[in-house]
Amino acid sequence: MKAVEVRELVKDYGNFRAIKGISFAVNEGEIFGLIGPNGAGKTTALRVIATLLQITSGSVTVFGYELPKEAGEVRKIISYLPEEAGAYKNLTGKEYLNFIAKFFGEGEKFQNMVQRGLEIANLGERINDKVDTYSKGMTRLLLVGRALMVNPRLAILDEPTSGLDVVNAQEVRRIINSSVEAGVAVLLSSHNMLEVELLCHRIALINDGRIIASGTAAELKKEYDARNIEEAFVKAIK
C-alpha cells in the first residue's frame, strides 16, 4: 500500500492557484522529499496532506484513507511538523510531550511515547524548564521529538532542520533515518537541496505549483547532467 498518493492536486487561495495539478506517491518505509524555492507550493502540499487545508480539486489518500472524508482516520496515523512550529510557552518541555502523547495513547503506550520523545529531544535537565526559556534550536529538537515519538505511519516534516546548527541538524537527520528503519514513511520538504540529497530515497522538484521532475537523486542528476541536486534543479527550471 502507498503511504501517500496524490493525484492531480490543485489548491487555490482565492484567485491564486498555489498548486497546479501535482501527482506523486510515497511508499512505505521511504523518505520522499519535495524540494523547491520559497513559494513553490511545498508547504501547501504538505498542509493538504496533513488535513489542514481543503482540496480544491484532485485527490489525496494516506494509507488508503481518502481526504477530506476520512481526515479523522488520517490524523491518527500521521504526525506533522510545520516549518515555523512552536510549543506552548507556559508548559515545560516534558509537560508538552505529555500533552501531545495523551492524544495517542494511555498507560504503558503513553509512557513509552513520552520516553521516546525525551530521548529524541535529548534536552537533559532542561526538559523540565518552561518552553519559554528555550533557544530556537532546543524548541526545534523538542518538536522533532514530539513529531516522531508517537510512532506515526507517516511523518510529514516541513523543513525539519530549519533553524538548527550543523550538529543538531545532523542529529535530526540521524533520528529521521532511524525512524524510517523502524517502518515510518517520511514526506519532507526543504529548500536545502544538499540535505535532501543526503536524506531522501526519492525526490520531486517543485516549482511554481508544478512538479517539474522526480526520481532518485542519482536519476535526477543523470537526467540533467548535474553534479548535485541543486544544479539539477537550476537546469530543470530553465
Binding site: Y13, A50, G72, A87
Partner: protein, 422 residues
C-alpha cells in the same frame, strides 16, 4: 527623525481592526442612549394621573388645584375602579384617591390620607422617574396645605403642619398588587436584589471572553495551532475544550472580582424590607433557573468569542476583538439596569433579547415577578444561539480560515453534521 517614528507607529496602530470596534461601540451606545430617552425630558413631562376626590373639602380643593396644574389629569370623578381602568388604558402613572373626611381630619389635627394606586410599568432605574414626579407633586400638595394651615390657624400641631398628609400606597406591577410600597421603593428593592447579577455576568463574559479570544491569538502567534489541528482529536472537542477551559478561568477571575465587589455593595445596603412579605422572594427552583441562565449565557458568550477569535492574527489583534464582546455585555447591563425589558423601545428590546448575556441579567427580577416565560424562553434562545455559534466555530475550524484567513470552500449544510463529528 522623530516624525518618521511617529508616522510608522501611527500607520502600524491606526488600522481598520483597531478603529472599527471603537466606531461600532460609539454608534451602538449613541443609539442606545437615544432609544432609552433622556432623563431630563422625562422629568419635564407632566405625569398622567387620575384623581378621585370624594372629600370635596378645603384641603382636597388645594390638592386638586396643585395636581390639575402640574399633572395631566385624565380622570376626575368619584369612581375609583373606573378611574383606575382609565389610568391603565391611558398609560398613566397613578390614581390618587382623596377619601371622605380628608379635610375634616386635617382640621382635627390628624393627617389626611391620600390613597395612591400606582401603575408600575417597569423596575428599571429610569422607569420610576414618572412616579418620582408624582411623589414630588404630593410634596407640593403638602406644602400648599401647610401654607394654608399656617395662614388659617396658628394653634395647629407643628407636626401636622409639617406633614399634613400621609400616603397609602398600592402598586400594581405585572399582575401583582403590592401594598405599602411605591414604585420607587419597589424598584429600589428589586434593583438592590438583582443588580449584582448583571455586573457578575458582564465581568464573567468579558474576562472569560478575553481568555478564549487571547487563546486563539496565542495559538497563532506561538505557531501551535497547526500542530493542534493535526492531532487525532475532533475539531468540535478542540472548540468545546477551549470554551470550557476559558469558562473556568473566567469564573475564577469573576469570583475574585465579585468578592471585592460584594463587600463594596454591602456597604450601601440600607433596605430592611423582607421580599417574602410582598410575595417577591425567590425559591430554590428560581435560583436554579438563574444558575442555568447564567451558565448557558456564559457558553453562548464564549462560543461567540471563539468565532471572533478565529479572526485574531496574533495576541495584539485578539485584544482588539474583545471590544465587541465588551460592548454587547455593557449594552445588556445598562439596558436592563436602567429600563425594564417591557418598557424599552421595541428595537432595543429585540436587540437586548438577541444578546444572550441579557437573559441572566433579567432573570432574577423576572422570577421575582413570576415571569417564567421570559426566563425559560431566554434560556432556550441562548441554548440555540450557543449551538449555532459552536457549529459555526467548528465549521471555521474545518475550513482554511484559521490558517489562511479565508474560507477556501463552502461546506454544504448537509455536510455540517459530518464536519461536527470530525
Amino acid at each position: 527623525m522623530i516624525g518618521n517614528i511617529i508616522k510608522k507607529e501611527f500607520k502600524e496602530l491606526f488600522i481598520l481592526s483597531t478603529i472599527l470596534p471603537i466606531v461600532v461601540i460609539a454608534i451602538v451606545f449613541g443609539s442606545v442612549g437615544q432609544m432609552i430617552g433622556g432623563v431630563e425630558e422625562s422629568l419635564e413631562e407632566k405625569p398622567v394621573i387620575g384623581i378621585v376626590d370624594i372629600d370635596d373639602g378645603d384641603f382636597s380643593d388645594i390638592a386638586m388645584s396643585v395636581l390639575t396644574e402640574r399633572a395631566e389629569v385624565i380622570y376626575d370623578g368619584s369612581d375609583a375602579e373606573e378611574g383606575l381602568k382609565e389610568v391603565r388604558e391611558e398609560n398613566g402613572v397613578a390614581l390618587l384617591v382623596i377619601p371622605e373626611n380628608f379635610s375634616q381630619n386635617i382640621y382635627a389635627n390628624h393627617p389626611g390620607e391620600i390613597e395612591i394606586h400606582w401603575i408600575m410599568k417597569g423596575a428599571g432605574m429610569m422607569d420610576s422617574i414618572s412616579s418620582s414626579v408624582v411623589e414630588g407633586l404630593i410634596q407640593s400638595v403638602n406644602q400648599e396645605i401647610s401654607r394654608k394651615l399656617i395662614q388659617q390657624d396658628s394653634s395647629s400641631d407643628p407636626a401636622l403642619v409639617l406633614n399634613p398628609t400621609t400616603r397609602i400606597d398600592t402598586t400594581s406591577f405585572k399582575g401583582k398588587e403590592i401594598e405599602g410600597l411605591s414604585p420607587s421603593q419597589l424598584g429600589n428593592m428589586l434593583n438592590s436584589q438583582s443588580i449584582v447579577i448583571p455586573i457578575v455576568v458582564m465581568m464573567l463574559i468579558i474576562m472569560a471572553g478575553a481568555s478564549v479570544i487571547s487563546s486563539m491569538g496565542l495559538e497563532k502567534e506561538n505557531k501551535t495551532l497547526e500542530t493542534l489541528l493535526t492531532l487525532p482529536v475532533r475539531r468540535s472537542h478542540i472548540v468545546i475544550g477551549k470554551i470550557v477551559g476559558s469558562a473556568l478561568i473566567g469564573m475564577i477571575m469573576a469570583a475574585i472580582y465579585m468578592i471585592g465587589f460584594s463587600r463594596y455593595m454591602s456597604s450601601f445596603q440600607i433596605s430592611d424590607i423582607n421580599l417574602a412579605d410582598f410575595g417577591l422572594a425567590l425559591g430554590m427552583q428560581d435560583y436554579l433557573l438563574v444558575g442555568i441562565s447564567l451558565f448557558v449565557a456564559l457558553l453562548a458568550g464564549l462560543s461567540l468569542c471563539i468565532v471572533l477569535g478565529t479572526f485574531a492574527k496574533n495576541y495584539r489583534s485578539a485584544q482588539t476583538l474583545v471590544f465587541p464582546i465588551t460592548a454587547l455585555a455593557m449594552i445588556s447591563m445598562f439596558a436592563t439596569m436602567f429600563k425594564d425589558f417591557d418598557t424599552i423601545p421595541v428595537v432595543l428590546r429585540i436587540l437586548v433579547f438577541a444578546i444572550p448575556f441579557s437573559h441572566p441579567m433579567m432573570a432574577m427580577r423576572a422570577l421575582m415577578l413570576d415571569n417564567y416565560s421570559l426566563v425559560i424562553g431566554g434560556i432556550a434562545y441562548t441554548a440555540v444561539f450557543t449551538a449555532i455559534m459552536i457549529a459555526v466555530a467548528v465549521r471555521i475550524f474545518n475550513s482554511d480560515r484559521l490558517l489562511t484567513g479565508s474560507v477556501q470552500r463552502r461546506i454544504p449544510p448537509r455536510r455540517l453534521l459530518w464536519a461536527l463529528r470530525r
